[in-house]
Symmetry: C2
Subunit: 302 residues, 2 copies
Amino acid sequence: MYNRVALIGLGLIASSMFWAIKRGGLAGEVTGYARSQATRDTARRIGLCDTVCDSAAEAVAGADLVILCVPVGVMGDVAAEIGPHLASGATVSDVGSVKRAVIDAVAPHLPDTVHFVPGHPLAGTEHSGPESGFAELFDNRWTLLVPVEGSDADAVARLRGLWEGMGAYVDEMEPDHHDLVLAVTSHAPHLIAYTMVGVADDLRRVTDSEVIKYSAAGFRDFTRIAASDPTMWRDVFLNNKDATLEILGRFTEELFALQRAIRRGDGDHLHAYFTRTRAIRRGIIEAGQDTDAPDFGRGGKR
Amino acid sequence: MYNRVALIGLGLIASSMFWAIKRGGLAGEVTGYARSQATRDTARRIGLCDTVCDSAAEAVAGADLVILCVPVGVMGDVAAEIGPHLASGATVSDVGSVKRAVIDAVAPHLPDTVHFVPGHPLAGTEHSGPESGFAELFDNRWTLLVPVEGSDADAVARLRGLWEGMGAYVDEMEPDHHDLVLAVTSHAPHLIAYTMVGVADDLRRVTDSEVIKYSAAGFRDFTRIAASDPTMWRDVFLNNKDATLEILGRFTEELFALQRAIRRGDGDHLHAYFTRTRAIRRGIIEAGQDTDAPDFGRGGKR
């Protein structure tokens, strides 16, 4: 589908893309670059990318698809670095969790001769780094493409084909709406999980050892979320500030209402609320985004 | 280990206990009772319990161990019902997620001739009902025994043996401390997850369908938690009010500090916080309460 794909940044997403591209035979060649020498060494050792280059410029030379797989906060710097070296007619995309800020940071550095088609695969684990990837990461998950004004329709269609080849479902979305949807489904939940895990650690009357031993239900799911890459998430919050803060504002408003129901002993309010949230879970299972199997992670094994 | 065990209430925990008792050959006979005729019919159909009785009194007659597996809010009523029918020397226990309130509700109804040893298995799934149980639910999970003043040491040891036979690790804990630990590790996280799922549903600019389709990371873990049994959780919050409200107070304080860091663009604060929470996750994995495998529930499959 592409002659040469360049992956800039070699973490969980890029390494999974490489294995998925290989699985599907979707590109003639894949080059890769990571800023850290240690990451490049690891990539070479485990056969991640056909060629690991020592500069981003070298990696993108002659590529007809370049995908920026770096934290949102450095997308602009990387774009500035590769801009002059991009092949005419190439497509540039990214995998950042925030789209408006990435577009604003990247677009000014790209020559008019390339097609910019931002993207965001809604897939991940709490692991990071070049050794954390696997070919199945995107299977049956959504990838959102967020074409900018004037994005070439053929370039969008070709990139969609690549993602579908890697196993993903693909939708297109407008950047600001993307950032709001993700604030709800991902960014606010992550901040909340981080917060709760921090509170547990702070509480002196309950030891860390007790928290760890007895975290059977609820809390363990939070710790998994809160173990995600700190740099990536710092950048997400700083770059999707408005939508995240809006959702958190609604969240605390709602939380206060439930706290008030607890304080007053209003069991009917609580029961009605919990019944409603259960229905949303059923919707997710019916939409095929999760399985109905009991969660053995909470029950005993995963 | 016991001649006759009576399970009062036949939901997820009781049905898992039955299968675990059978797996281990831990009791001569297990009787069961559920208030609802439909539940009793289902239990008979699937072979849940050696005998399903049509009254709690009948189920506990001659039992040397009676375990109350009903929502925390009805423990007192059930204790009042069975009190006069308990065999002399029997042990009475429970599986409620709150201990102080259960002790206060149940103890007054028990004759002096029985041993009361409250308990709480830290295991569960988001499923409920008589068909949701499985023998492995307690394997390598903690069960907390919360002996009351004057609990007979032999009765406690025997009950500990039963839980260990069902695959659990067992610790003893004082009731108020139990309720605080659980407020941190389970009750507050559940309320937070319920709240976030409710907020998503309320937000009119993002459709339920979008929330459901694009809930790749974070949110899906919340929906699983928020799908737990509404009656059980209503009773938990109403009966562990003080500890839950205390933890929620600390949580919102901490959340406001992180919101402020986002608003001000204080990336160092965020990065340091997220790095600290990641370490807690490592502690949980090292303590053997979860596995280090990538969470395929978020990444593609479970």
